[in-house]
């Protein structure tokens, strides 16, 4: 149980969707609802309003598939790796029945021809990496919880990818592809192989397949971007196929419309292609959907299509190939390279979003507000291309200015850097590009911060780069021909050492820049070097000024396990302690500082005041892995907690990202644990009563990821 009363780690990030299974098993009902597995639950969305209507929660592990019940279209099956299949009434959000299978289930299929039978993919008992397709006969029983015992193996050695298996012609046969082999199992006769020859060393591995609903035709997608339509496969060795080629890389999903008139395909190009069946030269395209298409689904009446994307998004498309709705969660980027930030105006969390964008995510409403296009370039969906990435961003004190750094690195010598400054526009309520400085430094920018003074008229931005210089940028006043723009005000260096981090004091009167082992303190008014502080050995890793009453302290951490606190009035070391701090940050709304220490694979959290080296609060093993970014976000309503250990959360909440996910640390009376993965797969949102379970699920996830 939790030892610290009411302080919890909550994992969150909005609509966490289990993308892999979303669209293959995401289903439409009467064109009004969209069901998708999302972490530990099944979400029901309205296709018209994009709102989430129900969260169907009961599974205790990842939901791997959702399927409409063929005999009753108001009910749906869901399967999970916890070894159960559950039957739901999704319009009311009620759990009807639970079938216990006993093995982790990776996908589920059913057909109208086989009533009372479910086909599930489970691992073969001896090897976890091999999977088999099993028919499960559902027992007729009135109980809520039923254990299914009647299994019969249909196919062995199948792919666990749900897109690689499909029923054909209303359930007459089932087709499954794995590697270079396509298997067709006729329920009346026997099974039958189609073997793909690996001609000319081409990459023609199967990636997905779809069966025509009326015809004897199987469409398969391949690694090299080709689509093949197989026919005449009911007679041995006489099968034929035709090849369609438009995609330039692997086809990730295929789907026939219910009448079989059109075939939809998608891949990494993020273009939805609609092929006319039997007139394959006629194609319709829906380009620029935003991110790679992972799955495609079609509503039973064929009026709506939906695509799921690799960036945690579902697009609902009308059959006339027009986007009608977008359901977007916290955008899953490749990695979070910017700091976590809080927009001072909207109080939204800001971090990397779509490639080349910053996302503004409202923490209060748990909703994506908007994506700000930083790079302003056409994104080319092609693997192996080096694109511009937003690597640094900073807000000024009032949210009037946003500074971003984007970089593109093709070869070590050819680093392209752009520093952009954005002004907040009251009219459009968004940031407008004000100044672009190309190649502001000769090497990577390692830190950037705005002067946070409240009274000064001029805004100063300081950027610190590996080229050995730090530069101060200042807003030049407007001339008669053009508005105000930014220009370089000062270039500083110290003994040709490489600077690492920079920090402004709370009132903006001091700037601290660390040069390896030395901390230099400058006066931004005259750009004079005031003093230097150092505590060798060990290069400075983090620098932080104290806030409010502790603003006379400057704290630094070194990579030789030392946390130092200097008093700037006496220019001497106040105290130091031996800690391997990986991240140090100060709460702008109180005197408190938070330090994350990484030890033996877990991270510990310490909260303290700079005036004394005693921690106010400490939490061992807050999370697994290293905490990479963290931020204090202000609370909407102040709490009035008097307990010493939780007082530090009265004004703000602490959010942090580990290598895998976004977390938040705050105190709540409820025992809700929501969980979200940013990094690899979507996670789930789930009610728990025990922290132990949370960590257990993390282990499981890591196992899944590896």
């Amino acid at each position: 149980m939790v030892e610290h009363g009411d302080i919890r780690v909550v994992h969150r990030g909005g609509i966490a969707r289990y993308c892999r299974f979303l669209c293959e098993r995401g289903i439409f009902c009467c064109c009004r609802f969209l069901l998708c597995g999302s972490g530990y639950e099944v979400k029901v969305f309205s296709t018209s309003t994009e709102e989430c209507i129900h969260d169907l929660r009961a599974h205790t592990d990842l939901v791997t598939g959702v399927l409409l019940r063929p005999s009753n279209h108001l009910q749906a099956y869901s399967c999970s790796t916890d070894g159960t299949v559950r039957l739901w009434d999704y319009t009311d959000g009620i759990l009807i029945k639970t079938y216990v299978i006993g093995y982790p289930i990776y996908s589920i299929y059913t057909s109208a021809n086989h009533s009372g039978v479910l086909f599930v993919v489970t691992p073969t008992s001896d090897k976890r990496s091999e999977f088999q397709l099993v028919a499960v006969h559902l027992p007729q029983s009135g109980d809520q919880l039923v254990e299914a015992r009647e299994f019969s193996a249909v196919l062995s050695d199948v792919s666990s990818n749900p897109a690689a298996t499909s029923f054909g012609r209303g359930g007459e046969y089932i087709a499954s592809a794995k590697g270079l082999q396509l298997e067709v199992y006729f329920f009346k006769k026997q099974k039958f192989f189609l073997k793909e020859d690996n001609k000319k060393g081409g990459k023609n591995t199967f990636t997905c397949l779809a069966c025509h609903p009326k015809d004897d035709c199987i469409a398969t997608g391949h690694e090299d971007g080709k689509i093949r339509l197989w026919r005449n496969f009911n007679h041995k060795k006489e099968y034929t196929y035709t090849t369609l080629h438009w995609h330039h890389s692997a086809v990730s999903s295929l789907c026939f419309t219910p009448e079989g008139t059109n075939l939809l395909s998608g891949g990494i190009e993020s273009v939805l292609v609609q092929w006319r069946y039997n007139q394959e030269s006629q194609r319709d395209f829906l380009p620029r959907l935003g991110a790679a298409i992972t799955h495609i689904a079609v509503s039973p009446d064929g009026a709506l299509f939906c695509t799921s994307h690799s960036d945690n998004k579902i697009t609902i498309i009308r059959s006339s190939i027009q986007v009608s709705a977008v359901i977007q969660g916290l955008v899953k980027g490749d990695s979070v390279r910017t700091d976590l930030m809080v927009d001072p105006r909207s109080k939204a969390l800001v971090l990397n979003g779509k490639p080349g964008h910053l996302q503004f995510y409202s923490l209060q409403r748990d909703k994506l507000l908007y994506n700000l296009d930083i790079v302003q370039q056409e994104y080319i969906h092609q693997s192996g291309l080096e694109q511009f990435e937003v690597v640094k961003a900073a807000f000024d004190a009032y949210g009037n200015w946003l500074a971003t750094v984007e970089e593109r690195k093709q070869k070590p010598t050819e680093l392209e850097l752009n520093l952009k400054l954005w002004a907040f526009d009251e009219q459009t309520q968004s940031f407008m590009l004000n100044t672009t400085i190309s190649a502001p430094h000769e090497a990577r920018i390692t830190a950037m911060c705005f002067c946070h003074s409240t009274d000064s008229q001029t805004t100063v931005l300081v950027s610190v780069s590996k080229d050995g210089h730090f530069k101060a940028w200042q807003l030049a006043p407007a001339t008669h021909t053009e508005g105000p723009s930014w220009s370089c005000d000062f270039v500083g260096a110290y003994h040709s050492l490489v600077p690492e981090c920079c920090c402004f004091s709370a009132d903006g009167s001091l700037l601290a820049v660390s040069f390896q082992e030395v901390v230099t303190v400058w006066s931004p008014a005259s750009w004079e070097l005031l003093t230097t502080l150092s505590q060798p050995p060990g290069a400075i890793r983090n620098l932080c000024f104290g806030q409010l009453t502790c603003s006379k302290y400057l704290l630094g951490t070194t990579d030789k396990n030392l946390l130092c606190c200097w008093n700037l009035l006496t220019c001497s070391l106040e105290w130091s302690t031996s800690m391997d701090v990986s991240l140090l940050l100060s709460d702008p709304f109180s005197e408190n500082m938070a330090a994350f220490c990484c030890q033996a694979g877990c991270t510990d959290l310490f909260v303290f005041k700079p005036s004394e080296p005693r921690p106010l609060f400490s939490h061992k093993a807050v999370c697994l892995g290293k905490v990479t970014r963290a931020v204090f976000a202000p609370r909407e309503k102040m709490l009035e907690s008097c307990e010493e250990t939780s007082q530090w959360l009265n004004h703000s909440q602490l959010y942090f990202v580990t290598q895998y996910m976004v977390n938040t640390q705050h105190n709540e009376a409820t025992w809700h644990y929501s969980r979200e993965a940013l990094k690899n797969m979507g996670l789930c949102i789930r009610i728990f009563t025990d922290t132990f379970l949370v960590y257990k699920s993390v282990y499981r996830l890591r196992w899944l990821m590896s």
Binding site: Q376, E378, I380, L385, F388, R408, E442
Partner: protein, 528 residues
């Protein structure tokens, strides 16, 4: 669904285009009026009295133009051969001119026939002028002599036979009736005093002297010859003060602005340059269509008249204050509000069904090609250097630059090479063009030697790079010297460099240029 994002064309800072008071002043002229004369315009001279007509000597005629007329108000055509050097007297009443037939003619500006004919020279007379007391004429001729004539008697007063080549320019003093200066093709300038029988000062210009000019104070004399403009101090006995070499062809004519603060020189290289006479730096430059032979400025710089070898007389009038304002006013004027709201202020009636018109996005040609992934066409359809470089950058980002550069025929490749050689040394474009040039060399390595056109361009490219490397080497040397100077002069301080100091910029500029150029140089050698 997002729409296609067009390629961003970065705005580069303009180099060397500084707006100074001089550029504002000398740019404030209207578009030139061009008048075609019968032959090359060899001399232009303004009448010293209002309304400041000017005499234009071209071929066998002298035309007199009024300050605003585009037709000659008067012509003197009674020359047997090419006329030279039509000059007004200081009262504007008389005009003197030399001629190829060695006769010097004197005209009354209101008459037509010559008042006097001075015969005595044996060859063409290229220089004529009135002395300051108005009753004498000084002439210089191709027979190596210069003479003084008396107007009332039409007699020769004196002959000076000191030059050893043609006398092609000369000027009389406005303050002293006895002094005049001649310039000759024997590379010398001579100051003569009529009171003695020989020259008093000789100055060696070093080049055949084409034009000579006295300062209003008459302490300094300016001579032009060859590519050089030289200034001499007469009060120090003809000591050279400055030598200017800003033209790349022979300087033909000199002129001072009305306030004496600016010196203008015209040259066969089709430029007219304006110098500041305090530091003798070029402050402005005019371009003309043909080689300039003669140049004159109206009083108060009201107009610039230039005569060219192709017989065109170009007249630029100064804009009046209202006009210069009017132009900027016109630029600022926009279509009236009505134009914008046309049709948009229509209020829909109650039952009207509104059909919104989709906003059409306009893409430039290269963006249309990029949208369709027609990469080679996109590269070919970009025209301006900034745009081409931006498109190359975009193609590089897409990883398709190699494909866009490959598969070109001789013509397309030579166009591409031409662009690269033209723009590669521009440091704004170098980071993009150097890898592109490398790629071209890689792609077309196997076919080098098949096309003489391409080979020539490649050799030129190699030459260019060698020059650039030498240039940078030199500048790095200078930088090293500067660094030692700074290190010794500046007390040891923590701040190393100021952001906008020249040496810092220079340093940044060279650091990356040298690196890139050397790289490509190596490659070029390997391939060619």
């Amino acid at each position: 669904m997002a729409s296609f994002k067009p390629t961003k064309i970065p705005i580069y800072p303009k180099l060397g285009e500084k707006v100074t008071q001089d550029t504002v002043y000398w740019k404030n002229y209207k578009a030139p009026v061009q008048i075609k004369e019968f032959g090359a315009v060899t001399n232009i001279h303004f009448s010293p009295v209002a309304p400041h007509n000017y005499a234009v000597t071209a071929f066998t005629r002298i035309h007199i133009y009024g300050p605003f007329s585009q037709e000659p108000v008067k012509s003197f055509t009674r020359f047997k051969d090419t006329a030279y050097c039509g000059r007004y007297r200081s009262d504007g009443q008389l005009l003197v001119a030399g001629c190829e037939d060695s006769v010097v003619r004197l005209f009354d500006v209101s008459g037509k026939v010559a008042l006097r004919m001075f015969k005595g020279h044996t060859k063409a007379v290229h220089v004529t002028d009135f002395t300051s007391e108005r009753y004498h004429i000084f002439t210089g001729s191709d027979d190596y002599t210069c003479r003084l004539w008396d107007i009332p008697n039409a007699t020769e007063l004196n002959t000076y036979q000191e030059h050893t080549d043609y006398i092609r320019c000369g000027v009389t003093s406005k303050l002293n009736r006895d002094l005049f200066i001649t310039g000759s093709y024997d590379h010398t300038l001579k100051l003569f005093d009529a009171r003695v029988d020989k020259s008093v000062i000789t100055m060696d210009h070093g080049q055949p002297v084409e034009s000579v000019l006295l300062y209003p104070s008459e302490g300094l004399v300016v001579s032009a010859g060859g590519r050089y403009v030289k200034v001499w101090d007469l009060l120090k006995g003809g000591q050279p003060l400055v030598s200017l070499k800003n033209h790349h062809k022979t300087v033909t004519s000199l002129c001072l602005s009305s306030n004496g603060q600016r010196l203008l020189s015209a040259s066969l290289d089709r430029h007219v340059k304006v110098y500041n006479t305090t530091n003798f730096r070029v402050v402005h430059n005019f371009d003309y269509a043909a080689s300039v032979l003669s140049l004159a400025l109206a009083p108060d710089d009201e107009s610039i008249i230039v005569g060219m070898t192709n017989g065109v007389l170009s007249i630029k009038h100064r804009k009046s204050p209202e006009e210069s304002k009017e132009v900027s006013h016109q630029q600022r004027r926009r279509p009236s509000y009505r134009v914008f709201v046309k049709g948009k202020n229509y209020m829909p009636k109650q039952d009207d069904y509104l059909v919104s018109k989709p906003v059409r996005e306009y893409l430039t040609k290269y963006d249309k090609h990029l949208k369709k992934f027609n990469i080679s066409k996109a590269l070919d359809s970009a025209l301006k250097p900034e745009v081409t470089v931006a498109v190359i950058k975009e193609l590089d980002r897409r990883g398709t630059l190699k494909n866009a550069l490959a598969g070109r025929d001789e013509k397309a490749l030579s166009e591409l090479l031409h662009f690269i050689t033209k723009n590669m040394v521009d440091f704004r474009f170098a980071p993009v063009l150097v890898p592109a040039a490398n790629m071209i060399l890689d792609i077309y390595r196997s076919v080098i030697g098949q096309s003489p056109v391409v080979d020539r361009q490649l050799l030129y490219l190699q030459d260019l790079l060698q020059k650039e490397i030498n240039y940078q080497q030199e500048l790095l040397d200078v930088l090293g010297m500067l660094d030692t100077l700074f290190a010794s002069s500046v007390p040891r301080k923590e701040l190393l460099s100021q952001p906008h100091s020249d040496s810092f910029m220079l340093f940044v500029y060279f650091k990356f240029k040298t690196k890139n150029s050397k790289e490509i140089k190596k490659k070029g050698e390997r391939n060619i």
